[in-house]
């Protein structure tokens, strides 16, 4: 089995199933912190998918977008945590 076929038939479906499972938690989540941590997890899985497709298309420029996604994940989670903490303080 060649390199690209392995990625297309094994790695990408595993990541797709994990995206679906995390998105179910994002829809179900009883509290807001559940949704925020599911969003963080979605960002991490999307970083993995970007790395896989940068290998498949042989384009190393995609990894810049992965770095940008890591930044956005950290700032969004931090700001949401600050918002959850301050929301009840009034």
């Amino acid at each position: 089995m060649s390199f690209e076929n392995y990625f297309y038939w094994v790695i990408v479906p595993m990541l797709a199933v994990s995206v679906i499972l995390v998105f179910v938690r994002f829809l179900k989540g009883p509290s807001m912190a559940d949704r925020v941590i599911a969003l963080d997890m979605l960002f991490l899985v999307s970083i993995c998918i970007i790395a896989i497709f940068s290998m498949l298309f042989d384009q190393s420029t995609f990894l810049d977008i992965a770095m940008l996604f890591a930044l956005i994940a950290f700032f969004s989670t931090t700001v949401y945590a600050y918002y959850i903490e301050r929301k009840n303080k009034r």
Partner: protein, 135 residues
Amino acid sequence: MKEVIIMICSTVGALFILSTSVAMLRQPDVYLRISVTAKASTLGVGMILLAAAIYFEAFPVVSRILAIILFIFLTVTIAGHMLAKAAYITNIPVWKGTKIDELAGKYDPETHVLYSESPDKNPAKLDKKPDGKLE
């Protein structure tokens, strides 16, 4: 040979990501979900990015990938800590099977002040029992 190493690294990383996302559905508590995300997903993302680093082999790409891995290892834990603290402050209930809760009784829910170093000076009458169960 290089392709086999790339396949092994990416398979391990994808398995870790898959197990993390299963645990996101099955864990009973917010705090356990945050803990699982902070532990397993950093290793999963690290393995997949390591596979990309082995694939490209060029110095600027590898340094960029190492920067992403370092950034993720630093920030996911910090974000998880901040989110768990915010969840605890807003009284999201702890799972029943939690054995120990060291913050119970040392924290003022009104003024958001911690008394963890000197619990004797705590002026607030707290309604949390010291064995960690929220009411």
